[in-house]
Symmetry: C2
Subunit: 488 residues, 2 copies
C-alpha cells in the first residue's frame, strides 16, 4: 500500500470517513491511481490508518455507489472506468502554451477600483489577543444550534423548489414578510412588499442606489469622516462628492447639502464617530431636503444598539415626501459572511433597483434567504438582539471606564450606543504607525485616516470596537494600548 | 383559550413543535397576547391541538429559555416583560403619516433597467404538466442528501470563523482550489489562484466585466440571436452593440467583430441555438482577436453536455495572448438558486474585478462557498455531472426523435449537446402567441423573440429545454405541442 494515499488528521474538521473519501477521490481524479492495480482492502486500510474497519467499509461503499470504485470478485477494489470519463480534456490537448500578455489592460479599463484605498483588516484577526476589530461577530454570542436547525429545515425536501430554483428578479416572500413585520416596525417604518428589496448586504444596496441615481454630473454629499466604502462607490461615478463635517449631533446641515442631489447619512450611530442625530436635527434635515429637493440615503446600521435612551425613530419613518431611501443589514445581528441586507424606498425606485439587481446578481442565494426567514419567524433573531444588547452594553461600559482610566487625555464624542468608540489620540500620534505597533503587541485597532475623504486627513483618530472581543479582555487591552501610545 | 392562537397544519414543512413556537412568537411580538392573561397550560394546549403533551412542553421550554415566556408559580405561563422590550418603536411615534411622493423619480434616474425587456418565466413552472423550461434543475437528479451533509459540515463549529466572518474581498480558498484543480482542467485551462474570482453566478461575472471594460464609447459585439441578459447589460453602458449573426458553427467572424473592442461569445453551445463552434473557427476567432486587438468574453455554460463528440477545449485554453476572459457557472450542475459562478482572466483584470466586487457585494456568501467546496472535494459534483450527462443524453435523443416525428417541418440547427433545442417553427407562427396557447394546455415553451437584438426580430423561433422535464413526458409533450401549433 502506498503510504501517501490517505492521511488521516484526527481532530480535523471532517469525519474520518469523509477524509478517506476525499483522499481517494482526489487520487482518482488527479490520475494518481492506475486502473490495473487494486486499491488496498478495507482491512489493510483500516489497519494502516488505525481506524475502525467499519469506517473504511462505509467510505468504500459510498465510492462504489457513486461509480468511483468497482469491485472485482476475489480480487478487490479497483478504480472504475467511468470514474475517469470526465477527467481533464487537458490531456487531449496537451499542456497549455505559455501566455504572453498582449493586452494593455491599463488602457482597456474604464475604471480602476483597485486603485482606491480600502480598509484592510487581517483575515486572521481571531489569533490576536485583543481584537478591537469592527464588524465581525462574536461566536460566543451566536445561537449556532438554532441557525443550523433553520438551515436544515430550509434545505428540506418540501421546500426544494424554493431554494434550488433560479427565481430571477424575485425575493423569498417569507423573508420579505419577516422584514416587513418584524424589523421595520421597530424603526417606525411601514412598507408594502413592493417597497422592499433584499440585497447582498447593505453594501449591495448602496451600490445599486448609486448606480441608479448617480452619474458624472450628479452632486452628492456625505459625512466627513464617513463610511469609506460608500465614498469609494460615489467616486467611481462622480467627481462631485461634497464632504459635510460631523459634529456631536452627526451630519451638519451646511452649504454642502444645499447644492447636492443626493445625501448619504448614518443617523442612528454615525459612521465612524457613533454619535446619534437627535430628533430636532432629523426634522431639520428633512425640511432642508424638501426645500432643496435632494434625496437622502439613510444607512441605519446598528440601530439596535442604544444603551442610554430609547432608540430614535428612523429618518425614513419621519419622511412624508418619499425622499428617504432606507438601507438595512442583517450582517450586524446575524453574521456578515451571510451577505443579507435590504432597502426600503418608493415602489418606482425599488422596481428599478430590482431590475438592476437581476442583471448584477439575480438575487440573494435562496437557501440563505429561507434560512434567515425561518430564523426570524421563530423569534431567534429577537432573542439574539436582546442577548447582543446586554453583552454590548456591558462591554460599552467597561470600555468607557477603561478609556477614562488609561487614556484620560484622549477625547471622544459623546455616544450612546454602537459597537465601537471613536478616539482622538494625542496630536502627535499617527494611528497607522500606532496600529502596526499595537498589532505586534497583540492588539488590533482600526486607524481612522481611511474614514476621512479630505486630501490631508488628521492622523490621530482611531476606532476601538468591542463587538468581537471578550468583556474581560477589554480592560487589559486598553491598558496595554495606552502603553503602546506612550511609546509613540 | 383563544382558538386562533395556534393552528397546526399536519404535513406542513415544519415540525409540530416548530409550528407551535412560530405561532406563539408571532402572537407575542405582534402584541396579540396581553401580559396579564396566562397562556394556555401545556396540557390544555396539547389537548386542543390534538398533539402529544411532550411536543408542547418542548416548545414552551424553548420559549422560556429564550425569554419569551415566564413561569409564575401555581399560576402558569405568561408573556415575559423583556420579550416586549424590543417591540415596535412605531407605538412611540404614532402611525406614520401618509406619504405624498414629491420626488420625480423619472428625472432622477440615470438609467432605467426596468424598461428593458426581459425573459419572463412563471415561478410556478413545476405545476405545469410539460415544463420545457430552461435553466432550472431537476430535483430527481440532484443528490440532496449529499448536499445537505456538506451544508451541515460547512456550518460546523470548527469552521465557524470561515463562514460567519466578513472576508472583505477574499474568496474561500478551498473553493478556489477545487475550481482550479477539478473544473478548469476539464476545459484545458490552467490558472493560478490570483487569476480566479468567485462570483454570484455567471451573471455577476458578466456584469463585473462590463462595468470594468465598457463605457459609452466602447464598441462591443455579441451573437445574434444571443443571450438577452448580456445584451441588456451592454446596452445599459453603451449604444454601440454590434450583432454578429450565428450560423451552424456559431458566431460568424464578419465585419461586426473588426471594429469592436470586446466580443461576447458562447462557443460550447451557442445561446440559444446550441450549436458548437468547431476548433478551426475557434482558432480563426483568436487570430482575428489578435489582429484587430479585441478582448473576448467566453461564457462556457453547459460545457459538460456534449453527447456526440469529445468536448472541444475552451477558447481560453487555446489563447496564448491573454485575450480571453473565461466565465463559468456552478448553476447548471449544482442549482441556480445558489448563485455561484467564477471567472478566469489575467491577474491584473481579476484584481480590478475583485475590488469592484468588494464594493458591489463584498463576496459570495461564505457558507455556500464552503458547502460547494466540500461537495466538489468529496467527488459529489463529478458523480452528479456523470448522472446529468446520462439523463440529459437520453432526453436529448427522445426529444430529437419526437421533433422529427411530430414537427417534421420545423427545422433546427445541428446540435450535439446542451439542455435544449432551438426550433424554427412555420413562418406564420408567432411564438409569443404560441407560448400562451401552449401554457393553457399545460406546456411551457420559451418564445425566441427575446433572444434577438434586432428591431424586428423573427417571431417563429422558440426554445424547448429538457433539463427540468421527465424523460417520459417529452414525447407526449411534443405531440401535444404539435397539435397546438397546428391550431395556430
Amino acid at each position: 500500500m502506498r503510504e501517501w494515499l490517505v492521511h488521516i488528521r484526527r481532530g480535523e474538521y471532517s469525519s474520518l470517513q469523509t477524509q478517506i473519501r476525499e483522499a481517494l477521490v482526489s487520487a482518482i481524479l488527479d490520475g494518481q491511481l492506475s486502473r490495473e492495480e487494486p486499491i488496498p482492502s478495507t482491512r489493510k486500510m483500516a489497519k494502516t490508518l488505525g481506524v475502525s474497519r467499519n469506517t473504511v467499509v462505509l467510505a468504500y461503499q459510498g465510492l462504489l455507489d457513486d461509480g468511483y470504485l468497482m469491485a472485482r470478485e476475489r480480487s478487490g477494489y479497483y478504480v472504475a472506468d467511468k470514474a475517469l470519463e470526465s477527467v481533464a480534456v487537458q490531456k487531449l490537448t496537451g499542456k497549455p502554451k505559455p501566455v504572453k500578455d498582449r493586452v494593455d489592460w491599463e488602457r482597456r479599463l474604464t475604471q480602476s477600483p483597485a486603485a482606491q484605498e480600502n480598509v484592510t483588516k487581517p483575515l486572521d484577526w481571531q489569533s490576536y489577543e485583543f481584537p478591537f476589530i469592527y464588524g465581525q461577530v462574536d461566536h460566543t454570542l451566536f445561537p449556532l444550534a438554532e441557525w443550523r436547525d433553520c438551515a436544515r429545515q430550509a434545505l428540506g425536501k418540501k421546500w426544494l423548489g424554493s431554494w434550488t430554483n433560479d427565481t430571477w428578479a424575485s425575493d423569498d416572500p417569507l423573508l420579505v414578510e419577516q422584514i416587513r413585520r418584524r424589523i421595520l416596525p421597530r424603526r417606525g417604518i411601514m412598507a408594502n412588499d413592493d417597497e422592499i428589496l433584499i440585497t447582498l448586504g447593505a453594501q449591495n444596496a448602496l451600490y445599486l442606489l448609486t448606480s441608479l441615481l448617480v452619474d458624472s454630473s450628479t452632486r452628492v454629499a456625505m459625512e466627513e469622516p464617513g463610511y469609506p466604502d460608500v465614498r469609494n462607490i460615489f467616486r467611481l461615478r462622480t467627481n462631485h462628492v461634497a464632504l459635510a463635517p460631523v459634529d456631536e449631533k452627526g451630519l451638519t446641515l451646511g452649504e454642502a447639502l444645499n447644492s447636492s442631489q443626493l445625501v448619504f447619512t448614518t443617523p442612528s450611530h454615525q459612521f465612524p464617530t457613533t454619535v446619534t442625530m437627535p430628533l430636532e436635527r432629523r426634522m431639520e434635515l428633512l425640511r432642508r431636503a424638501s426645500e432643496k429637493n435632494f434625496i437622502i440615503i439613510e444607512d441605519d446600521y446598528e440601530f439596535e444598539t442604544n444603551y442610554v435612551n430609547e432608540p430614535c425613530p428612523a429618518l425614513k419613518s419621519l419622511d412624508d415626501e418619499g425622499r428617504v431611501v432606507y438601507v438595512g443589514s442583517l450582517s450586524k445581528t446575524l453574521f456578515p459572511g451571510l451577505r443579507l441586507g435590504f432597502m426600503v424606498g418608493p415602489k418606482k425606485l425599488i422596481a428599478e433597483a430590482r431590475a438592476l439587481r437581476r442583471l448584477m446578481v439575480r438575487h440573494a442565494p435562496n437557501n440563505n434567504q429561507r434560512t434567515a426567514a425561518l430564523f426570524l419567524s421563530l423569534g431567534h433573531h429577537d432573542t439574539l438582539i436582546r442577548r447582543l444588547h446586554r453583552a454590548y452594553r456591558a462591554r460599552w461600559e467597561v470600555m468607557g471606564e477603561a478609556l477614562n482610566t488609561y487614556m484620560p487625555k484622549a477625547s471622544r464624542n459623546p455616544s450612546f450606543g454602537g459597537t465601537s468608540f471613536w478616539v482622538k489620540g494625542p496630536a502627535h500620534i499617527d494611528s497607522d504607525t500606532l496600529g502596526r505597533a499595537a498589532a505586534v503587541r497583540g492588539i488590533l485597532i482600526e486607524p481612522g485616516r481611511i474614514d476621512f475623504g479630505v486630501q490631508n486627513p488628521p492622523r490621530n483618530f482611531f476606532r476601538l470596537a468591542f463587538s468581537s472581543i471578550d468583556e474581560k479582555k477589554i480592560e487589559p487591552g486598553i491598558r496595554r494600548l495606552a502603553d503602546v501610545i506612550a511609546e509613540q
